[in-house]
C-alpha cells in the first residue's frame, strides 16, 4: 500500500520588539542574559498587576500577517489559556483563541516537484513563557526559573495540513524564516529558540481523505532536525500501520544524537486549557488605516525579490533563490553588481554562491561578519574578467581578502600576482617547453593527444601560474600544429 503523509506546522516566532508584550521590560537574548534581569511585577505575575498591549508587537504581527496575505480581523480578542507550570507566572498564558489577529493566509514554496501553495490557517499574538533549568547539586535536584523570556511577544503561525513531505516542511519553514527576516521581526535563530517549529504528522493510505492519528514533534532546533524528524516520523508511522499497529496520539521529542523521535507525552484526547476571553484587555482593534500603513511600508519580500533577480540579473531560479533567501545576502549581491558595472551579474552571483559561501561556511560566519565588502568582490571580479589575474589567482586573493580585508589590487601588487598576457613572452615559454621535451612531442605526434594538456601545465609552471591560460593555449595550439604540419 502506498501512503501519504499529512503535515501541519505550528511555528512560534518571538517578535524582536524593544519591550515585552504586556509590560515595559526589555526583550533580551535569554540564552546569554543574566537570569531574571528583565523582569517586572507584570511579567512576574505578581498580585494585582495588569497587562497592557505593546502596539509595536501588534504592528510586527500585522507585517507578518500581511506578508502571508492573511485576512486581518479588525477586532480580535485576547484569551486566557489556563495551565499550571512553573515557567508560566500567571498560571495562564495570554493568547488569542476564537478571534485571532489574522486568518486565511498563504505561502508559496518551491520544491523539487515544483511550486506548492501552502495555506496558513491563522496568525495570532501571545506571550512567551519563562525557562526552567534543572539542576543537580550536592545530591539535591531542583529547578531554576528564569523569567527573562516570560512575556516576550510571540507570534503563532499555524498552517493548514497541506504539507506532505519532509522536503516541503523544510521549504515551508525556510520560506517563513526568510519572510520573518525580511520583515525584521525575528532573527530566525532556531538554536536560540526565537523561532520554534512544531510539526504535527499523520499518515494515511494514498487517496484517502480521512486523517490518520497525528503526533506532534517538539524540540527541533534546526532545519536539519526538522527535516529529519519529520522524515523519521513519517516512516515510523508507516511502519506501524504496515505491521497492523496503531499510531498513538502523542507528543514526541527529537533525539538529535540518535536521529529518532521518542515518546514524550501521551495525549488522552485534547488538552483542556479552559480558554476564555481575557477580561483585562479590551478587544484588539486594528483600524483599516493602520493596516494600510503597515501594508504600504512592507519591504520587498523574498518571492518578489527572487522574481526580480531572475528578470533583472538574468539569473537562474536556483541562483536567485539562494541569493534572496537572506535579505543581507541579496543586498550584498545587489551592491556588488552596482559596484561592478559592466560585469555580468551572473559572474558575481557565481563568486558569491561558490567561493564566498565556501569560505563563509568554512569559517562558520554569516554575511554580516564578512570582511570582503561588496565593492571588493566587484573589483576582484572585474580583474578576472579583464584578464588582470586568472581565476585561480583570484581565488587565492579572495581567501586573503576574506582574512585581512585588504583591497584586491593591493594584494595582487604586493604579491606580484598580475597575470602575464604578453604573447611573445608566453610563446618563448612554449618554445622552451617543446624543445626540452622531445620524447613527449614524439608521442604526441604519434597520436597521443592528451600530451598537449601536460605540455600546457609545464608552460604554466614556468610562468609560476600567472600566465593567461587563454594565451598559453593559443600559442601552444599554434606551435603543435606547426610541428604536425612539418614534413617528417
Amino acid at each position: 500500500m502506498e501512503f501519504e503523509a499529512v503535515i501541519g506546522l505550528e511555528v512560534h516566532a518571538e517578535l524582536e520588539t524593544r519591550s515585552k508584550m504586556f509590560c515595559a521590560c526589555p526583550v533580551v537574548d535569554s540564552t546569554v542574559a543574566q537570569p531574571n534581569i528583565a523582569v517586572c511585577p507584570i511579567c512576574a505575575g505578581m498580585p494585582g498587576v495588569l497587562p497592557v498591549v505593546n502596539q509595536r508587537a501588534v504592528e510586527y504581527a500585522l507585517r507578518v500577517a500581511l506578508a502571508l496575505e492573511c485576512q486581518i480581523n479588525h477586532t480580535s480578542l485576547f484569551a486566557r489559556k489556563n495551565y499550571f507550570y512553573p515557567d508560566l507566572p500567571k498560571g495562564y498564558q495570554i493568547s488569542q483563541y476564537e478571534q485571532p489577529l489574522a486568518r486565511h493566509g498563504k505561502l508559496v514554496i518551491v520544491t523539487s516537484q515544483g511550486e506548492r501553495l501552502i495555506r496558513v490557517r491563522r496568525v495570532h499574538l501571545e506571550e512567551d513563557t519563562g525557562k526552567l533549568t534543572h539542576v543537580s547539586r550536592d545530591g539535591q535536584a531542583y529547578s531554576l526559573v528564569d523569567l527573562n523570556r516570560a512575556g516576550v511577544p510571540l507570534l503563532e503561525i499555524v498552517s493548514e495540513p497541506d504539507l506532505h513531505t519532509a522536503e516541503e516542511v523544510r521549504q515551508y519553514a525556510t520560506a517563513l524564516r526568510s519572510i520573518l527576516r525580511y520583515l525584521q521581526v525575528n532573527s530566525g535563530d532556531m538554536q536560540k529558540g526565537v523561532m520554534r517549529i512544531e510539526p504535527n504528522v499523520s499518515v494515511r493510505p494514498l487517496g484517502s481523505t480521512e486523517f490518520g492519528t497525528r503526533t506532534e514533534i517538539k524540540n527541533l532546533n534546526s532545519f536539519r532536525a526538522l527535516e529529519r524528524g519529520v522524515a523519521f516520523e513519517i516512516q515510523r508511522q508507516i511502519e506501524i500501520i504496515q505491521k497492523g499497529g496503531q499510531v498513538i496520539q502523542e507528543t514526541r521529542g527529537w533525539d538529535e544524537a540518535r536521529d529518532v523521535t521518542f515518546s514524550q507525552r501521551i495525549k488522552e484526547g485534547e488538552d483542556d486549557y479552559r480558554y476564555f476571553p481575557e477580561p483585562d484587555l479590551p478587544p484588539l482593534v486594528v483600524e483599516a488605516e493602520w493596516i494600510e500603513t503597515v501594508r504600504r511600508d512592507l519591504p520587498e519580500l523574498p518571492a518578489a525579490r527572487l522574481l526580480r533577480f531572475q528578470q533583472n540579473y538574468d539569473l537562474g531560479s536556483y541562483d536567485a533563490s539562494v541569493l534572496t533567501l537572506e535579505p543581507a545576502v541579496a543586498d550584498y549581491f545587489e551592491q556588488a553588481v552596482q559596484a561592478a558595472s559592466g560585469i555580468p551579474p551572473k559572474t558575481i552571483a557565481n563568486w558569491i554562491t561558490g567561493e564566498l559561501f565556501g569560505l563563509m561556511n568554512q569559517a562558520g560566519i554569516g554575511i554580516e561578519e564578512l570582511r570582503v565588502t561588496p565593492e571588493a568582490l566587484a573589483e576582484l571580479t572585474r580583474m578576472v574578467v579583464q584578464g588582470e589575474i586568472n581565476q585561480n589567482t583570484a581565488k587565492a586573493v579572495l581567501a586573503e581578502i576574506f582574512e585581512s580585508g585588504q583591497p584586491a589590487a593591493e594584494i595582487v601588487a604586493r604579491r606580484g600576482l598580475s597575470q602575464i598576457s604578453d604573447a611573445d613572452f608566453i610563446t618563448g615559454l612554449v618554445q622552451q617547453v617543446l624543445s626540452e621535451n622531445p620524447d613527449q612531442i614524439a608521442s604526441y605526434l604519434a597520436g597521443k593527444e592528451t600530451v598537449s594538456r601536460w605540455l600546457f601545465g609545464q608552460v604554466m609552471r614556468l610562468a609560476k601560474g600567472q600566465a593567461n591560460p587563454q594565451v598559453i593555449q593559443t600559442a601552444l595550439d599554434r606551435q603543435l600544429q606547426e610541428l604536425k604540419n612539418r614534413p617528417r
Partner: protein
C-alpha cells in the same frame, strides 16, 4: 486629642489648613483610637504607624509651606488618614488579601488608586480585613479572623470590604478604600451604616487591586457621607495607562450644595419591583420606601421601573466571577512569592501550597469556575452566563432611558450574626442579591444609611446610575444626607 476623630471631614480639612492641629496629631489620634478599640473589632490586619507618621509629617510640611507662601489651596485630602482594604497594594506594606497564601507578601508597587491618594497627601493608617481574596459577604472567610460590626459585636460587618466599612463606622479612619466585585463595598456600607461608593467599571484603575473577578472588580470608597466619598473618588478616578480597561473620560467635579434641602428637581428615580422580594426584612423594606419618599420631597420624580432579568443575576454572577477567579488565582503556586509547602515533586508543591493555604470558600469558587470553563461545559455555563449578563446590562440600559437613578434596598436584611450562614454558602450568597446586578452591568452604585431596625442595626439604601454618572449618585445621596441625619449616627463603642 481623641475628639479629633469625631470631627467631620470638612472640619478636619479646615483645622489642618488653619494649623489648629497637625496631620501628625490627627494620625496619632486615629492610631490611639485603633489601639484602644480595634482589639474588639479586628478591622485592621496590618497597621503602619511609622509610615503614617512619616506621611503625616510630609503633609504637615506642605501645609505649613502653603500657610507661609500661599498659592493654590492644597487638596482637601492632604494630611487626611486613610485605611486601605488589604487587597489593594501599598508599596512596602504586607498585602495578605485575607489569605494565608499571601501571608508574607510585600508588594513593591502601589495600586494606582493608592498612588493617586498618596499624591493628594493622604496618610495611610494600615490595611483592613477582608474575606479571603474578597470572596465573601461577612469577613468570616478571612484567614485572619472575623471583623465585628461596630453596632453589634456579635454580628458581621458585611464583606468582603468589612474591615474598611467597620473601621469607618467605628471612627478608626475617616475614609477607607474597599473593592466591590458583587457588592463588597455597598453591602458592608449598608450593614455598618456608612456611605459606600462602587464606581463605574473602568472608572478607577484596577492596577494593584488583587484580582478576583476581573470584569467585575472596582475600587470603591467608604466615608461618613457622599460628599466625603466624592472627594476620594475624584482624586482616584480617571484613565490609567497601566489598566487597559480604564476609560478615558473626564471625571466631573462634584460640588456639594450646602443648603439643608438641595433640590433634586429634574431627577427621575426608578423603583424596580424586582428588588422588593418576599423574605426580605420588613423593616428594611419600610425604611427604603420612607427614604424614597424623602427623595420625592426633595424634588425627584419617583416612578416604577422594571429590571426583568434581576433573578438571573445571582446564578450569572456565580458563574462569571468564579470562572475569572479560577484563572486569577492560578498564579498562587508558591513559586515566586508567598509561602511554599515543600514536596518531592513539582506537582505536589502546587498541590500542597494551594490545597493547604487557600481557605474553603476560595477553593469552592476555584472549583466552580474551573468547572464552568471546562470543555463540554463552557457553552452551557460560562458562555450562557455571558449571554444573560448582556440581558441584565440591557435591563439597566433600558431603565436608564426612563430614569436617572434607580433606588433599591442595598441588602435584604440588616447585619446577620457571626456564624449564621456558616454552613450554608447559598444563603450567604443571597445577601448580595441586590448589589450583584450593578457589577454585572458595570454601572455605579452608592449605598448609604436610611434608618435603623428595631435591633438598632443600620439599614442601607442603594442608588444606581448609568455608567459614568457617579455625580448623579453624589448629588442625590448628598441631598438625602442634608435632609436626614442617619449618616451622622455613630455606634457607641466606649463600653465595649
Amino acid at each position: 486629642m481623641s475628639t479629633l476623630t469625631e470631627l467631620s471631614l470638612s472640619e478636619v480639612t479646615t483645622g489642618l489648613r488653619h494649623g489648629n492641629f497637625s496631620s501628625r496629631e490627627l494620625a496619632q489620634a486615629y492610631l490611639e483610637r485603633i489601639e484602644r478599640l480595634d482589639p474588639a473589632l479586628h478591622t485592621f490586619l496590618t497597621l503602619t504607624p511609622e509610615l503614617a507618621l512619616v506621611q503625616a509629617d510630609q503633609a504637615d510640611q506642605l501645609l505649613s509651606d502653603w500657610r507661609k507662601n500661599g498659592g493654590a489651596a492644597p487638596s482637601p485630602l492632604l494630611g487626611i488618614p486613610l485605611a486601605v482594604k488589604d487587597i489593594l497594594c501599598v508599596a512596602g506594606v504586607r498585602c495578605t488579601c485575607g489569605s494565608r497564601i499571601l501571608e508574607n507578601f510585600i508588594p513593591p508597587y502601589n495600586a494606582t488608586s493608592v498612588a493617586r491618594l498618596r499624591q493628594a497627601g493622604m496618610v495611610i493608617l494600615g490595611k483592613t480585613n477582608t474575606d479571603e481574596f474578597a470572596m465573601g459577604s461577612s469577613t468570616e472567610n478571612s484567614a485572619y479572623g472575623v471583623t465585628h460590626n461596630p453596632w453589634d459585636l456579635s454580628r458581621v460587618p458585611g464583606g468582603s470590604s468589612g474591615g474598611s466599612a467597620a473601621a469607618v463606622a467605628a471612627g478608626l479612619a475617616p475614609l477607607a478604600l474597599g473593592t466591590d466585585t458583587g457588592g463588597s463595598v455597598r453591602q458592608p456600607a449598608s450593614l455598618c451604616g456608612v456611605t459606600g461608593l462602587k464606581p463605574t467599571y473602568g472608572r478607577v484603575s484596577r492596577y494593584g487591586l488583587v484580582a478576583f473577578g476581573s470584569s467585575l472588580d472596582v475600587v470603591g470608597v467608604f466615608g461618613h457621607s457622599a460628599a466625603d466619598a466624592a472627594l476620594v473618588f475624584a482624586q482616584m478616578a480617571g484613565q490609567d495607562t497601566l489598566d487597559a480597561t480604564s476609560v478615558e473620560l473626564p471625571v466631573p467635579e462634584f460640588q456639594p450644595d450646602a443648603s439643608t434641602k438641595p433640590s433634586l428637581y429634574g431627577l427621575r428615580v426608578g423603583v424596580p419591583g424586582e428588588y422588593f422580594i418576599t423574605g426580605m426584612q420588613p423593616e428594611v423594606e419600610a425604611a427604603i420606601h420612607q427614604a424614597i419618599t424623602i427623595l420625592e420631597e426633595l424634588g425627584a420624580v419617583i416612578q416604577p421601573v422594571s429590571l426583568p432579568h434581576t433573578q438571573y443575576a445571582l446564578p450569572v454572577y456565580y458563574l462569571i466571577a468564579p470562572a475569572e477567579a479560577s484563572a486569577n488565582l492560578a498564579r498562587y503556586d508558591g513559586v515566586r512569592y508567598g509561602p511554599r509547602q515543600p514536596a518531592e515533586v513539582m506537582w505536589d508543591v502546587f498541590r500542597h501550597t494551594r490545597g493547604e493555604l487557600f481557605g474553603p470558600e476560595v477553593k469552592r469558587r476555584i472549583m466552580l469556575g474551573t468547572y464552568a470553563l471546562s470543555a463540554g461545559y463552557y457553552d452551557a455555563y460560562y458562555g450562557q452566563a455571558q449571554k444573560v449578563r448582556t440581558l441584565i446590562k440591557r435591563d439597566f440600559d433600558q431603565a436608564f432611558t426612563q430614569v436617572n437613578l434607580i433606588a433599591t434596598p442595598a441588602t435584604p436584611n440588616t447585619a446577620f450574626r457571626i456564624g449564621e450562614h456558616a454552613d450554608d454558602p447559598l444563603s450567604m450568597y443571597l445577601e448580595d442579591i441586590f448589589t450583584l446586578p450593578a457589577n454585572l452591568a458595570g454601572v455605579p452604585g452608592i449605598a448609604f444609611p436610611a434608618g435603623f431596625d428595631s435591633k438598632g442595626l443600620p439599614i442601607g439604601i442603594q442608588l444606581t446610575a448609568a455608567s459614568f454618572q457617579e455625580d448623579l449618585l453624589f448629588r442625590a445621596a448628598h441631598a438625602y444626607q442634608q435632609a436626614t441625619d442617619w449618616h451622622t449616627r455613630r455606634p457607641s463603642l466606649n463600653q465595649s
